[in-house]
């Protein structure tokens, strides 16, 4: 018996030694050594078999191939690679939408091939229009000189491309000399006593670096007042023109169309007018100290120059521009020389910023950031798109502002802001007695008097309601409350407060098992007795709902003072995994893909532009698998091709749509997108760079496994 106990002890003891020492891939070897050691040291008969067990996961991966055989993968720019939790990546190259300029007469077409490149075939697919706007050239300053209001974002037109090599290792835009230019969005009242700063490079004796006129779009509509222009004359020299009853013009003594970067500064003020090239004052006049008085907009790469002396054959600049700025003071020669002496981008940038510029366009833009503010000629929009495809669009009422900055967790994302007193969103469609659903929304507030995130009442507007429950609100302490009425007011309340000014994602769920409240992906409160809700038909509201004092935690203010983004009603109780996928989506595009897979009853991304710019484009989207064509937008039965383009199928209606047309191994899906300009679109939007923000995704069953690619760079000229 002693001998036997010794054998047992050896078997028990040695593994403990091994456990401590086994590391990484040596573990198997260690285990085998253990077996050998055990047998040898036990001095007893022993038989041992040893092997390894392995468990392997598959992969769900998506490859998109756009025109020119440009490939993009859900893991990033190349095949293979690390698979992240969201498994959705933006494609830096390629475009699934037509290139060139859209016309209202003929449709343009682009095709994309979607291939399953993982080891597991997905079971469903989604296409999402996650955002829409026009490409912006950001103004890093937000001064209010000359009655300007905030950043003077510029908009790209025509043959303007991004990310060329600039001076001081910066980036630059490149203009084609025939169609490319940029207009600014902020109107200024008679800029005086200022200095224009610009870096340019050209070999063409044509075009304006900058100009100012009383037409925001001097290409489409000739201005009646125009001066403060810096251009390349037919001799290749740099001209600076100020109109003060006469055309006062300074001209550089040397040519500047040498193909090298030139640093130019031009000013007007009490010291007169001055023109500097590469830090040296090359021309000046003391008799002209002010310009013509009018309100107008700055333009870059184009200026209206008719009747000026020494005008070039083309007003379009051909070459590269970088680091444009307007400083609201007349710089001295020493200041200009100092700027010219900055040898790095950071010191130059600091030098310009130290001058408190009214506008400063670094022109290092990617061309992929949508400007969602008001666009001239596009018309204002108060419609908040329902991307579910169920036509339950929202309407911004009262103090609602569109195109605010959305949650940083979703990358470049937009939101609506609500003023807390009149602003709310009413929706179009009535729903009969929803009993199983999940409300989803990102919100941000610092309110100390509460406010509604979403609610449901029998009145479409913001009048007194007879029936009102299914309300998700913040109480006065900032705690989230979800309440239903089942004969009594049944609430579920978070223990923490969320009125801290940070973005939070809230999910409120109702089902036969009661109420659940999730915040930032975590279940924070439940109420099993909180079901069913009161039976009535009603409308969903965002940012407001009708309240009475019957609710135990009624907020002082039923209007939300804050911001909302990515709101939805899903007709199911979302699982922890689904909520996690939404919360960790990482981008607006990925969020839209995930939400699309959930087949929401209503989905308001709240990414809407303040202008109706994306309502100017007609679109259809068709998917082809084998020989079968299926129209995804407008939705048609499987096997039915898309109808002809019409004003009934606008880009604003594309939304986020699920599809059973799924690429499987060896059987890719071809996506065909047709577009044309709406016949009713204004001439002022022509040649703007529109960014439709399209994304494609696939998913395996109802698991968290999905793959997506998005095309933030995809743009088309209107």
């Amino acid at each position: 018996m002693k001998f036997r106990r010794k054998a047992v002890n050896v078997v028990q003891f040695e593994p403990r030694i091994w456990v401590k020492k086994a590391v990484g891939s040596l573990s198997l070897l260690c285990a085998l050594l253990l077996a050998l050691t055990s047998a040898a040291s036990a001095s007893a008969f022993q038989a041992v078999v040893s092997s390894s067990g392995s468990f392997s996961a598959g992969t769900v991966q998506l490859e998109g191939t756009t025109a020119g055989s440009v490939n993009c993968y859900s893991t990033g720019s190349g095949a293979g690679g690390s698979v992240t939790a969201s498994n959705t990546q933006p494609c830096s190259n390629g475009s699934p939408i037509p290139t060139g300029q859209l016309t209202s007469g003929v449709s343009s077409t682009a095709t994309t091939t979607l291939s399953s490149v993982g080891s597991v075939n997905a079971t469903s697919a989604t296409v999402a229009s996650s955002s829409c706007g026009v490409a912006e050239l950001a103004d890093s300053a937000s001064a209010t000189d000359w009655s300007g209001t905030g950043p003077n974002t510029a908009l790209a037109f025509g043959g303007l491309t991004y990310q060329a090599a600039g001076p001081l290792s910066s980036k630059a835009i490149t203009l084609d000399g025939s169609t490319g230019w940029a207009e600014s969005t902020v109107e200024y009242t008679n800029p005086e006593a200022f200095t224009v700063l610009a870096w340019f490079k050209t070999t063409s004796a044509q075009g304006a670096v900058m100009g100012f006129s009383n037409s925001q779009d001097p290409v489409a509509s000739s201005p009646s007042s125009y001066d403060r222009a810096l251009w390349i004359d037919p001799a290749g020299k740099l001209d600076w023109g100020i109109y003060n009853g006469t055309t006062d013009e300074l001209t550089s003594p040397s040519v500047v169309d040498t193909g090298s970067w030139v640093f130019a500064a031009a000013s007007v003020g009490s010291a007169g007018t001055a023109l500097y090239v590469n830090g040296t004052k090359v021309a000046f006049a003391t008799g002209v100290t002010s310009s013509q008085s009018y309100s107008g907009w700055w333009s870059a790469g184009y200026a209206y120059l008719t009747l000026w002396p020494d005008i070039p054959a083309s007003y379009y600049f051909a070459g590269s521009l970088a680091q444009l700025a307007v400083v609201p003071s007349q710089l001295t020669a020493a200041q200009v020389t100092a700027l010219n002496g900055d040898s790095t981008l950071s010191t130059y940038t600091a030098g310009v910023n130290a001058l408190s510029p009214a506008s400063y366009w670094p022109l290092n833009d990617s061309g992929a950031v949508p400007y969602e503010g008001s666009v001239p000629g596009a018309g204002a929009s108060a419609t908040l798109v329902d991307a579910s495809g169920n036509a339950n669009a929202g309407t911004a009422e009262g103090g609602v502002s569109l195109a605010a900055t959305g949650p940083a967790a979703l990358g470049t994302s937009a939101a609506v802001t609500l003023n807390g007193s009149t602003g709310y969103v009413e929706t179009a469609s009535s729903y009969a007695n929803p009993q199983v659903f999940s409300l989803v929304a990102w919100f941000k507030t610092t309110s100390l008097s509460g406010g509604t995130v979403m609610g449901f009442s029998n009145v479409q507007g913001n009048g007194a309601a007879i029936n009102y429950d299914r309300i998700l609100w913040l109480d006065n302490s900032g705690k989230l409350v979800f309440g239903i009425y089942n004969g009594t007011e049944a609430e579920v309340t978070s223990t923490s407060s969320y009125n801290n000014g940070a973005w939070h994602m809230v999910v409120a769920e109702l089902s036969a098992s009661g109420e659940q409240l999730w915040v930032d992906g975590t279940l924070v409160a439940t109420n099993a007795s909180g079901t069913p809700a009161q039976s009535y038909s009603g409308y969903w509201h965002l940012g407001w709902d009708y309240f009475t004092a019957y609710w135990p935690d009624e907020p002082t203010n039923s209007y939300l003072a804050g911001a909302l983004s990515e709101a939805a009603v899903v007709s199911s109780q979302l699982t922890a995994s689904q909520i996690s996928s939404l919360y960790n989506a990482g981008s607006a595009a990925a969020f839209a893909l995930v939400m699309g897979q959930l087949a929401p009853a209503s989905y308001w991304p709240l990414q809407d532009s303040a202008s109706n710019i994306c309502g100017t484009t007609e679109v259809t989207l068709q998917e082809t698998l084998g020989a079968s064509n299926t129209c995804i937008y407008p939705p048609e039965p499987v096997g039915t091709a898309c109808p002809a383009l019409s004003s009934g199928y606008l880009l604003t209606g594309l939304g986020s749509r699920s599809s059973s047309i799924v690429a499987t191994s060896g059987s890719p899906v071809t996506v065909t997108i047709k577009m044309k300009l709406s016949a009713t679109s204004a001439s002022g939007v022509a040649r703007l760079h529109m960014l439709p923000g399209l994304a494609f995704g696939t998913q395996y069953s109802s698991t968290p496994w999905s793959a997506g690619i998005s095309y933030p760079n995809a743009s088309v000229e209107l």
Binding site: A22, A39, A40, V49, S56, G58, T703
Partner: protein
């Protein structure tokens, strides 16, 4: 003498010694004599041998096949039976993988000790992943596992998690990380008498609640060492 003549093959020294004894006895006692030679005496050792099978493959502790020379370690480190089945391309919440392992004491001596030692769980890129490897570094945590002792008459039915009853349903409470680097001894394992067999069912699944896209294209590996001894 007659008996001596029948053993002509005996050593010469022995023959001479016996003859000398006979002469001496004859000369001294002058009577009959008798002797016993235990010429068939043997001493034989028993065998304890372990055979593992999964219905398709069989593995023996001696090495390549049934029988064969028994080395001092009597350990086969080259078994290819995959205790976790090894089927590629598992998905979250997919059909659970299950394999039945049968262990037989193919020797003629009863074992009194049985053990299962699991090594550390390691992860690597799956063989068919085409370089798509999830970024999760805790894939082993995401694989649910149970090991049931289904031997008829077994006292304890669940090896992992160790409990008297049958194994619980798969859940993330019991995963490859917590299963790994563990020694399981006679209870709940079945100690094998000579010729007796025991069966174990290993069940695994990629957990649907905790696995994310970052768990795609990964393989988890756990060494299994099964032994019986005297």
């Amino acid at each position: 003498m007659h008996r001596v003549s029948r053993h002509k093959g005996a050593l010469v020294a022995s023959l001479a010694a016996v003859a000398a004894l006979g002469m001496t006895a004859s000369s001294t006692l002058g009577g009959f004599s008798a002797g016993i030679n235990n010429s068939t005496s043997t001493f034989s050792s028993a065998t304890i041998q372990l055979e593992e099978g999964n219905g398709g493959s069989t593995c023996y502790s001696t090495g390549s096949g049934s029988g064969g020379p028994v080395t001092a370690t009597n350990t086969n480190t080259t078994c290819t039976i995959n205790a976790l089945v090894g089927t590629l391309d598992q998905v979250p919440g997919g059909t659970a993988l299950s394999t039945t392992l049968t262990f037989t004491n193919a020797g003629n001596h009863n074992a009194t000790v049985a053990s299962l030692v699991t090594g550390a769980c390691t992860q690597a890129t799956a063989s068919d992943a085409n370089s798509y490897a999830g970024s999760d570094t805790s894939f082993c945590n995401k694989v649910d596992v149970t090991v049931a002792n289904t031997t008829t008459g077994a006292t304890d039915k669940c090896v992992y998690p160790t409990q008297a009853g049958t194994c619980p349903a798969l859940s993330n409470t019991y995963n490859l990380t917590s299963f790994a680097s563990t020694t399981f001894n006679a209870v709940p394992l079945s100690v094998l008498a000579a010729g007796a067999s025991a069966t174990y069912v290993v069940t695994t699944q990629l957990d649907s609640g905790v696995a994310t896209n970052a768990d795609q294209g990964l393989t988890a590996t756990v060494p299994f060492t099964w032994s019986i001894s005297q």
